[in-house]
Symmetry: C2
Subunit: 318 residues, 2 copies
């Protein structure tokens, strides 16, 4: 019996690098895939022609599986899907929307589909839509986030009960120990964002990466819940949002405050004051910038050490 996530995506380790706006282009995705995980190009921050370029570069940089993450609310979604099919990308992770419309289309072109959810209810709906795997992402994750605010520790067993599909845990996972913990809770693999956002191959600005290394617990909070909840690092922009929300700002007022292009400004251009700085809670435990391949290998080493230590540790004998 082999691991279902490894089998489904034809990878060595069930470690998926999350598709992340302004971080995960072809360089990061192929570094992860070459190390035995599954790299995802994040289409969320790309014009269709930019995505096309990244897919073509990825194909030159690896002969391993890689995929594309597609937020389903994306305005040019038709063109994005056309490119993915035309370029024969083997795997698509969909998020932020219903997988009903696109799953069978992707299947018709022999593309595997995983869908990201934040609740057991949507896991069930995704299974009905025919997806091949579920990513269940908890409250502690970076970026956009579910309104239920369910944490990974609670979400994984809950989704495990709701679906028999291969299950990937996301949110708060930054070590092989956390990977093993998620798998004990019912997941068969993990999707990791923050830890890869701060690798050498991430296209995030070096100022953004440095900022993340300095974070401590409690330095991110889920904000803009009246629009679409997003986990943000405390900075000047964050404080403006916090004040506006404390004073009861309306949806329109928040939209005006947010404006456009703030994630790019913060993550890609390194404007730490005005940017929307997205990262997960686990950033509090990230202290160095490493090559992505090394990150994959340490996760597996920690996982294996942690698993063996369970056997020989009388701490665990009751």
């Amino acid at each position: 019996m082999t691991n279902r996530i490894c089998e489904l995506f034809n990878i060595k380790y069930p470690i998926i690098q999350a598709g992340m706006v302004w971080c995960s282009g072809w360089r990061l995705a192929t570094a992860v895939s070459n190390a035995g995980g599954l790299g995802l190009i994040g289409a969320g921050s790309m014009h269709p022609e930019t995505l096309l370029e990244h897919i073509r570069k990825a194909k030159l940089a690896t002969d391993k599986s890689f995929g594309v993450n597609v937020p389903l609310m994306y305005p040019e979604i038709d063109r994005i899907m056309e490119i993915i099919v035309q370029e024969k990308v083997p795997i698509v992770f969909t998020s932020a929307g219903s997988p009903k419309k696109w799953t069978s289309y992707l299947h018709d072109h022999n593309i595997k589909v995983a869908h990201v959810v934040s609740s057991a209810e949507f896991a069930g709906k995704s299974e009905k839509a025919g997806v091949d795997a579920i990513v269940a992402e908890g409250f502690e994750a970076g970026g956009h986030n579910g309104r239920e605010e369910t944490t990974t520790l609670v979400l994984i067993p809950s989704v495990r009960k709701a679906t028999s599909l291969p299950l990937i845990a996301a949110g708060g996972i930054g070590s092989g120990q956390a990977m093993l913990a998620s798998m004990i809770l019912g997941a068969e693999g993990v999707q990791i964002g923050s830890l890869f956002a701060t690798t050498i191959e991430s296209s995030a600005h070096s100022e953004f990466k440095k900022c993340v290394l300095g974070l401590r617990e409690g330095d991110t909070h889920l904000m803009l819940k009246k629009l679409a909840p997003v986990r943000l690092i405390h900075n000047k922009f964050f404080n403006q949002v916090k004040e506006a929300e404390a004073n009861g700002a309306s949806v329109d007022e928040l939209k005006t405050l947010l404006g456009r292009g703030r994630a790019k400004k913060g993550i890609f251009e390194g404007d730490l004051d005005e940017g929307e700085l997205e990262i997960g809670q686990i950033s509090a435990l990230i202290n160095e910038i490493r090559p992505a391949g090394e990150v994959v290998q340490s996760l597996i080493n920690e996982f294996n050490e942690s698993r063996s230590s369970l056997l020989n540790n009388s701490n665990y004998s009751f």
Copy 2:
């Protein structure tokens, strides 16, 4: 080598039943202690003389270790501590305040002290204050909660790095699998609230228990963050708070809305509309009312099955 939590508290299993307002009197605490865990009487909802009565009844109902949970902001704290010392209660869990003032006093009377924190920073401060063990409680927990909003999955490894003291994980733990997961992350035991709040021996009102059994993911949220953050079940009172907060209600307005005695009204008297209904996220996975001793035993059975399955499962071999 034995488990440090078991050794410290002289218990068979490192399972602590959380001290919970209006749920955990002598009946629940001794049921847990008699089953091999550590039961705590929750002093937070008791007048000093009521606590005295509960301690005396507990002594008659068990010859095992039990403890008292004391929120340090409690108005009659001096009298509470006096009773604890006089009755020779062997273990005190302190929360909601600084452990500086009381730890050495309790130690002088041979009482073991554990302190509840929601961040690595406060774990370090508690260690300096001399406590014997740390409880690290994540965002998913019921009742009052840290402002950092760090989830258990992130908090445990973070606190593990900050202190070498025996460490107890709390928040989101409702199964032996979650117990094992927490221990892989660095904890040596678990504190469990919600699962015991719904046992037969819990003094919560039967309407409250029934309400909890019906909850699904996303049916609790952390509210009243301008006062003291507390996780509440969605009900009429919750909706009033939600609306007030969305409109920018001030601290004073929220205090007026909250009034006094709402937790008692909801949890103990079963008023599901007007009461402040406190429970953790894991309530979404609680489906039956059982005896507390049976809960302890299933946790251990699940823990052991889960641990053995790690050895023989090729899902986990990389």
